[in-house]
Symmetry: C2
Subunit: 344 residues, 2 copies
DNA sequence: TGTTAGCACTCTCCCTTTATGAGTGCTAAT
DNA sequence: ATTAGCACTCATAAAGGGAGAGTGCTAACA
């Protein structure tokens, strides 16, 4: 069977209506609201065809139709009109620029909250992936007592630190020398490239302070460089209650448990690093637990280096055009902001 | 009317039973389960008195009784048996020691998750209050381009940073000198005590690099020292669904919205800094929205300096003895862990 | 005088029944 | 090919009708 233009129109109408109201759409509704000059009976015939082709489903015999995931896919690929953020939305997104802080965590946190506030979906934002980030500076700062703080500053302004015990006979100058060596050696490398066995200069140094240097290198490699998972920020988890399909307490609970499963979210979003927005609809998602939802993903960057991923999670009948336009614009703005702060 | 020992026994039984099952407790139930050698009819008379005195309430005529907030208060103050963590609970709490990281954020995050996992209530943990924390070290780290990172390391291992633009003609040595001055000047002060006008040495320095020094001091005072709110970590927000009183989607939603209201949580917990555990029951809470819940608060410290507050939030019929014992023990363990890491 | 058995009464909860209405598919007419 | 008409299906809401838990009151009892 062919997907003629009339079928497409009807499909569009069903998807559009269902996205707006979340109730199965009947033939009469379409005839009245979308005014396409044919009678409900004709629409019924077409809908019956569309059901056979896998685009529509009936929850039960005497209900209207709802779109299948296949229909949403067709909708987002072919039928959906692109949309720009409204003036109000744009204004709210641009508040990212007004953040005073230069701490990436805080910026990302605000991004999550803006995303969920504007869209009323749940937002997930991954902090900068450490594997994508360059080491800029390593510093051993003496703390009183017998401790020093090993600090690593990266190109995205992220700072990782760990405490190290230092022997009595070590002075500040010595710490500085080691800091310099480490910086010189690992500067502009990623954490993934850290391999303490290759640091020849430093190994020479080992002769006099073998144990201490070992401690430092060990802390660097194991406490800092091996944390390859960045943080996850969530926004608007309670938004899911806005949707009638989640009025069921069991479904709502499942959803919220899902949002607490950081590993899953990390796996879902973490592997995505394309420039453009990606839409994953219902059963297209490889995680079974999320096959009731759709996810709209985007990324943010510094310069042209993609740093992290953002996601909007909502019911499969989500307003894709809105989610996409917001996601795109937020991506642009936050990237521009971070680039201004940290580029070069 | 007097609260004789028999009335107390009955009240105890009602509270205990209602905490366990969440259903109104009838006279027969008490006679059977708590075996106090009197008949249901007598218990009914006593319960009627207790109701008059404001300790019990009836949801409707033909239901059993439920405790009022006043009854819970009496219960936690006088009737409740203290309880120690079970071996299993203690073992799970002591995993705090096994954390490899020395980043306070991560430790606190784990504490929130342990608290909520063990108790099955929602946990809220405030990060160290900056007003309680001493400045240990200030450092200007040159980043390539024309930027430096202004880093402040504190006595609780927290690190605050902000970016500063630096003029062309400034070299590393100069940055070091300023770092040393700042450290010398503000060391062992709290952020609250920071007043850039008093830094005489540094103001002298201003003569040659007036604009730059101004930038540094301004960033220090405004971007770092003025952030007096620490972070908030939540655990087990979805736990609320375990309780029948929150099966109602509207109540569940209200609760979750509450948990997203960071300011409120901050105000609720932030002002509390006593050593011992504090229990706030239902209407005792000054925030109307939280008068359906009870909160058990505790603190954690470094040495004998109280740093931050923790809270367990659950229904008013929460298992206070459990919540209190867990809260106490977690407080002890996390304080000991932090003290080992950061003291001196 | 305090305690208890007995009993009528109340109210919720759950089950069943019934009515309503939205929507369909089929058939026959256009 | 399109559409009006109609019988049929199914979910949802409203109404009725026990069953059960629990109470308060009264009168008997130790």
């Amino acid at each position: 069977m062919q997907l003629g233009s009339r079928k497409l129109h009807i499909l569009h109408a069903v998807v559009h209506d269902y996205i707006s109201y979340g109730e199965p759409v009947g033939s009469r509704t379409i005839a009245k609201k979308y005014d396409m000059g044919i009678s409900p009976a004709t629409i019924r015939n077409e809908m019956s065809d569309l059901e056979e082709m896998g685009y529509l489903q009936q929850p039960h015999t005497s209900a209207g139709r709802i779109p299948s995931d296949k229909a949403y896919r067709l909708y987002v690929d072919k039928l959906m009109k692109t949309r720009k953020p409204t003036a109000d939305e744009a204004e709210r997104i641009e508040r990212i620029y007004q953040q005073k802080t230069t701490e990436v965590d805080k910026i990302i946190e605000q991004v999550a909250s803006i995303l969920s506030d504007i869209t009323s979906y749940t937002s997930v934002v991954l902090g900068p992936r450490l594997s994508k980030v360059l080491i800029r500076h390593i510093e051993l700062i003496p703390i009183e007592g017998q401790y020093a703080l090993l600090l690593v500053v990266t190109s995205a302004g992220i700072i990782k630190d760990t405490l190290i015990r230092i022997p009595d006979n070590i002075d500040i100058g010595y710490l500085e020398r080691i800091s310099n060596m480490l910086t010189k050696y690992y500067r502009n490398k990623t954490f993934a490239e850290v391999n303490i066995n290759h640091a020849v200069d430093i190994q020479k140094e080992m002769m006099n302070q073998k144990e201490f240097i070992n401690n430092v290198l060990d802390a660097f490699a194991n406490n800092i460089a091996s944390q390859n998972k960045g943080d996850i920020y969530l926004g608007g988890t309670a938004n899911i209650f806005n949707f009638p399909e989640y009025q069921d307490i069991i479904k709502a609970r499942e959803f919220l448990n899902l949002m607490e499963n950081r590993d899953m979210l990390y796996n879902l979003l973490g592997r995505y690093d394309e420039e453009d927005v990606l839409i994953v609809i219902g059963t297209e998602n490889e995680f079974n637990e999320m096959q009731d939802c759709s996810v709209v993903m985007g990324t943010y960057s510094i310069g042209d280096k993609i740093l992290g991923t953002m996601g909007l999670i909502g019911p499969t009948r989500m307003e894709y055009s809105k989610a996409v336009s917001i996601m795109r614009y937020v991506g642009q703005i936050v990237s521009r902001h971070l680039t201004l702060l940290f580029k070069e």
